[in-house]
């Protein structure tokens, strides 16, 4: 009952998802490594892992963590974000798989 109340409390103010951005993971690199999104809006990140190995999308700044299975697509919702930079990385290949989400005012964001 507690869990239903908890989920119901926040689900009642659920907003509609808007933009989608696709990121490809190839040779342990996020392409593009820099993603610009509109501030104040929810964004759907589609991550296409084209490598033969699993990876874990991790971001302390965005509070997101997801296993990316090889040759599979994954979806993560982020935002609405305040203007600023939010780092993300691949936990299994942190030296190469790095990226940043840049939240800009809507008119400045080029997706």
């Amino acid at each position: 009952m507690y869990f239903c109340m908890l989920f119901g409390m926040f689900a009642s103010v659920k907003a509609v998802a808007t933009d989608s951005v696709t990121i490809v993971l190839r040779n342990h690199l996020f392409i593009p490594a820099q993603v610009e999104v509109p501030a104040g809006k929810k964004v759907r990140l589609i991550i296409d892992n084209q490598d033969d190995t699993a990876e874990e999308f991790d971001s302390f700044d965005l509070n997101r963590e997801k296993v990316l299975f090889p040759k599979r697509k994954s979806v993560i919702y982020i935002g609405p974000l305040s203007v600023g930079e939010y780092r993300f990385f691949g936990e299994f290949s942190p030296n190469t798989a790095q990226g940043v989400v840049i939240a800009k005012e809507s008119s400045d964001a080029a997706q």
Binding site: A11, A54, S74, V75, E91
Partner: protein
């Protein structure tokens, strides 16, 4: 690869080891039953193997939201099991919590090893894992004896408070996962403590694993953590009073 293996093994083994230590010390008085090590270990290994066999397929269900949905259930299951431990201290609830946590965390580690285990990397992975396990073991040993000291000096409440905070962080984590797949909306960040202590450093990681520390918690995350903590506190107080009443009744019968 070596350093990466150290970090990943710490990240994945530490939450499980911490939960085990906290549950070991969670008994009220002498009522608790200890976890059978080998039996729990075998159950964890079997559960991980089954999960890994289907995780790839499950991740594609419900518009790529399947894995998060399952993990939300696991996290809430861990919290529920800890609450059940507070209520009855039965061994089965401790085992459920440990098995669910092992599926959550160990499966990630197995995925990492199976993906990167090659001739030129296996030495780095092996040494890194041993080092990571050593660090986990050292920290958990320190925690184990610290908690034993607290219990010996009548400060069981501190042990239970730690376990409550640890389990409440699972609920907060479940809320973040729900926001990640758009079941719940992402709420705004309440405060930003990254200038003081971020989660990239060792202290931040330890606090995150032990108490669910978040440098930038969302409103939903904070509400979930606080409410889960309050429920755990209410259950602990109720159980302590129940035990006190039993002791009083026992004393009266003795007279």
């Amino acid at each position: 690869m070596l350093l990466n293996s150290v970090i990943i093994s710490i990240n994945q083994f530490l939450p499980l080891a911490l939960l085990w230590v906290l549950l070991h010390h969670s008994d009220f008085g002498q009522s608790g039953e200890k976890l059978p090590f080998l039996q729990t270990l075998i159950t964890c290994a079997l559960a991980c193997a089954v999960f890994l066999g289907f995780a790839d397929t499950i991740s594609q269900w419900f518009d790529y939201k399947g894995l998060e949905m399952l993990k939300i259930l696991f996290l809430l299951g861990i919290y529920g099991s800890v609450i059940a431990v507070f209520c009855s201290a039965r061994r089965v609830y401790k085992q459920i919590a440990i098995v669910l946590a092992s599926v959550m965390y160990l499966s990630h580690f197995v995925m990492y090893v199976s993906s990167y285990w090659q001739l030129d990397t296996k030495q780095g992975i092996m040494i890194g894992t041993i080092l990571g396990l050593g660090i986990c073991l050292s920290f958990c040993t320190l925690l184990f004896f610290t908690l034993s000291w607290f219990k010996a000096h009548g400060a069981t409440a501190i042990v239970l408070a730690l376990l409550s905070a640890h389990s409440a962080s699972k609920v907060a984590n479940a809320i973040d996962l729900a926001a990640q797949i758009d079941i719940l909306p992402s709420s705004e960040t309440v405060f930003d403590l990254r200038f003081w202590l971020d989660e990239y450093g060792i202290t931040g990681r330890l606090l995150k694993a032990l108490l669910g520390y978040e440098a930038t918690p969302s409103y939903a995350n904070l509400v979930a953590f606080t409410s889960a903590l309050m429920i755990a506190a209410v259950v602990i107080i109720w159980r302590m009073r129940l035990d006190e009443q039993k002791v009083v009744k026992g004393g009266e019968h003795g007279l």
